[in-house]
């Protein structure tokens, strides 16, 4: 059975799409057949970050409306043969997302032998976000180290516990993972941001990874290359660690402590 994983947050702009692209790419690189679906109907970001926007012919809504088959709409990633992207429609309206339609697409992906289906959720707790999380087996709760983001993540966790298919059917609860993104240890030390421990204390779910705030993320998304491909970049390595943990490996957390500036750097700046 495919593992259906929603990347969600409640709050907007915290790094869901960046994380969906990075994690889906990382899983594919590790040899797992992975599909990533953009549920943010009307915006279309995922294909930009994955650098495949020019190859979009059909999209998720076309499939839901029966205007194209799933195979026609899935875009094969140019970097990894294991990664497929189902882009969102830029023109359609999100009412096209129906429970039956989404279920149909997910079960077809399962039949096609996908191991992982990553669902990139829109922000908020409206219809699009509900559709993205409803069928999930697991959830990656994307949180920035600030109070409002943590609050919204808490809210989403409550919705997963109460309104997901697993909750409604009384099945084993949705497995929850915490992904802290845009983490800046020196700002945490300065008391300007919540620490990993503060966030864990409030949300109380297992930690999947901590992604540092990094220029490399912006560079990567401007180039249309998910940041996991930047092997030297701190954020790229942190995403690789998170992917490894997702498939059951044990990895120590990196980039959670502020870098000690060397004396020379302190004197000469840097």
């Amino acid at each position: 059975m495919a593992r259906i994983i929603v990347v969600t947050s409640g709050k907007g702009g915290v790094g869901k799409t960046t994380s969906s692209a990075a994690i889906a790419s990382g899983l594919a690189l590790a040899g797992h057949k992975t599909a990533v679906i953009d549920f943010d109907i009307g915006l279309r970001n995922l294909d930009l970050i994955l650098g495949c926007e020019r190859r979009v012919v059909y999209d998720f809504v076309n499939v839901l409306n029966g205007e194209a088959s799933l195979q026609q709409a899935l875009i094969k990633d140019k970097r990894s043969e294991n990664l497929f992207i189902l882009p969102a429609s830029q023109t359609r309206d999100k009412d096209a997302l129906t429970m039956e339609g989404v279920q149909q697409v997910l079960s077809e992906l399962d039949q096609l032998g996908f191991e992982f289906v990553i669902c990139d959720s829109p922000a908020g707790i409206e219809h699009g976000a509900m559709m993205a999380l409803y069928f999930a087996d697991e959830a990656i709760i994307t949180t920035n180290p600030e109070v409002s983001s943590v609050r919204d993540s808490d809210r989403i966790l409550g919705i997963l516990d109460a309104k997901s298919k697993r909750a409604e059917k009384g099945l084993e609860p949705v497995k929850q993972h915490l992904l802290i993104t845009r983490y800046n240890p020196s700002r945490v030390d300065a008391g300007e941001m919540l620490s990993v421990d503060d966030i864990l204390e409030i949300l109380n779910i297992p930690l999947l990874g901590v992604i540092p705030e990094s220029q490399s993320v912006l560079n990567a998304s401007n180039k249309g290359v998910p940041v996991v491909f930047e092997e030297q970049a701190d954020a790229g390595q942190a995403y690789q660690d998170a992917v490894a943990r997702l498939v059951g490996e044990d990895k120590p957390m990196r980039y959670v402590k502020a870098e000690k500036k060397s004396l020379l750097k302190r004197i000469f700046g840097g």
Partner: protein, 226 residues
């Protein structure tokens, strides 16, 4: 259709002033202290004297006067066994009552034992935006109650994790209920409609294990060890 008056029996909950000796000044001072803590609760409230333990003569009239000055009304006396005492009470205009059963001193509410219905047990954390209501019974939450979450019970509430949201016990008006939590960072705590907002809660109780009860119509918080 007859509108003629009828005589019926009924029972009421009344406060009883339990006396142990004939020191009326001390009794009045004690009562004055109670009244000042909860003036609204005692305003024109009926009061019963229990003189069962009192050995010597009691200045009933003096006591009755003092009590009335505090704004309460003495409506009866119980435990009045000796004839002399009965006459003194009668002379002061205090009727003698024979209680059906002996009440004990009002004490820490026995929340869980009081309700026959089993407690509602919540095993998952109560997250922001969620509301849990234990109708007609106690509520036990094994995890945290987040900011923006609300737990409500007609009985008592026991939260073994951190309470960051709102907890409302005795929602149907039972003031004997309590709220217990493993780590107090509450937005609001209420018993029978009597509530404290976080800013009203003394700082010494922040992040502590606490028990909140209601006594004389006022909330009381104490730190406890679980």
């Amino acid at each position: 259709m007859s509108n003629a008056p009828v005589l019926k029996g009924s029972s009421f909950t009344l406060s009883i002033l339990q006396l142990f000796d004939s020191d009326t000044d001390r009794a009045l001072a004690y009562l004055a202290g109670k009244v000042s803590q909860a003036p609204a609760f005692f305003a024109q409230a009926p009061l019963i004297l229990n003189v069962e333990q009192v050995e010597g003569d009691l200045a009933f009239a003096r006591l009755k006067n003092g009590i009335e000055k505090l704004g309460l009304h003495v409506v009866g006396v119980v435990g009045c066994e000796r004839t002399a005492q009965q006459e003194q009470a009668f002379a002061a205009g205090i009727p003698r009552l024979r209680p059906g059963s002996q009440g004990s001193e009002l004490d820490i509410p026995k929340g869980p034992a009081r309700t026959a219905k089993a407690s509602k047990v919540v095993r998952t954390p109560v997250r922001s935006g969620q509301q849990i209501y234990a109708k007609g019974r106690d509520l036990v939450v094994l995890g945290h109650v987040s900011h923006g979450a609300e737990v409500i019970a007609d009985g008592s509430i026991q939260i073994y994790g951190t309470l960051r949201g709102r907890a409302l016990a005795g929602a149907a008006g039972n003031g004997d209920c309590h709220v217990l939590c493993g780590n107090q960072q509450a937005e609001l705590i209420s018993i029978a409609g009597n509530y404290w907002l976080s800013e009203q809660i003394d700082k010494q109780f922040w992040q502590q294990q606490v028990l909140v009860t209601q006594r004389d119509d006022a909330l009381q918080m104490e730190t406890i060890r679980l």
